[in-house]
Symmetry: C2
Subunit: 159 residues, 2 copies
DNA sequence: TATTGTTATACTCTATAACTATA
DNA sequence: TATAGTTATAGAGTATAACAATA
């Protein structure tokens, strides 16, 4: 997928001088375009052993400890049958293990295996490496601006 | 500056104090997390009449004028049969029109309809509005940092 | 022959509905 | 009855292979 052309038409072309005090396309437009492009590249060009849906679930289990399919479905905002399938795929691949819940016989506990933890680490390494290639082309001052913004944005989207 | 640091799992959580001089997770890690979360929210919470794949194709046609399915497939990095399907869905919905190429009988020209142009405009408006809700909670200084970073990042991922 | 586009078919991820087991 | 999870089935989006039309 390409999100190469998401800006408003006015913002897109250097534009017929409007009666606006700003020459720079507005913040939301720039941020929207930069974010969607960057995420697409991150997903596509740091390709991996598992799909994005599977990676997201695996990373949740690795970072937040054992979780039940119900908790994972809520967190990922998918329906339970979708999570059954995703967890089954991760289990088949050896990245998670499913065990009975110790107290509630209805529930299942999904735990990351060593292979699962290693894979998450490796995918993050790959993605950061890809990002760093682009960041290396910026000036130190630009990198500092981006670094500060990344902290602000990460806080802004915190769940 | 944290640019050169390697990301670790510890960098992701508040983390057991390590023997590291930096407290802030490195730039690539923050940027990766902020970008992936923000893009997921943008897609999910600014939902629309068309899928993301369809929107991307429609926006390309709206912004870059009539394009052939081949050009669209290359741009979106999908195979021709996938583009046939996406264009057919957009045509059925009335957002694009398919006409014969004036010079090359093998080709087809995909043009946006008025409804297609309106939809792109509306979806962009919705997404910017959603983003602005989050941005409104930042301080003016933070917004300025994010604004500068958005320009830098947009240039960094330019294709 | 090479290129553009389509049709046929299959796989993945998502969903809803219906079912089982347990609380 | 309510909850957790699964199975059955279907729709969208992707792919490869094979085909038709045109250059």
């Amino acid at each position: 997928m390409s999100y190469a052309n998401e800006m408003t038409i006015a913002a897109e072309s250097p534009a017929p001088a409007q009666h606006r005090p700003e020459r720079r396309p507005d913040l939301a437009t720039n941020l929207r375009i930069a974010t969607l492009r960057l995420s697409r590249r991150l997903r596509n060009e740091s390709s991996s052993e598992v799909s994005e849906a599977q990676y997201s679930v695996l990373a949740a289990v690795v970072h937040n400890g054992p979780l039940t399919p119900k908790q994972l479905a809520d967190r990922e905002r998918v329906q339970p049958p979708s999570m059954t399938r995703t967890v089954a795929a991760l289990e088949d691949a050896g990245y998670v293990a499913r065990t009975p819940h110790p107290e509630d016989g209805r529930q299942v506990v999904v735990t990351a295996t060593d292979a699962g933890r290693d894979l998450v680490k490796e995918i993050k390494r790959r993605r950061n490496a890809w990002l760093n290639k682009g960041l290396a082309r910026l000036t130190p001052a630009e990198r500092e601006v981006v670094a500060e913004a990344a902290v602000i944005l990460r806080r802004m989207v915190e769940e």
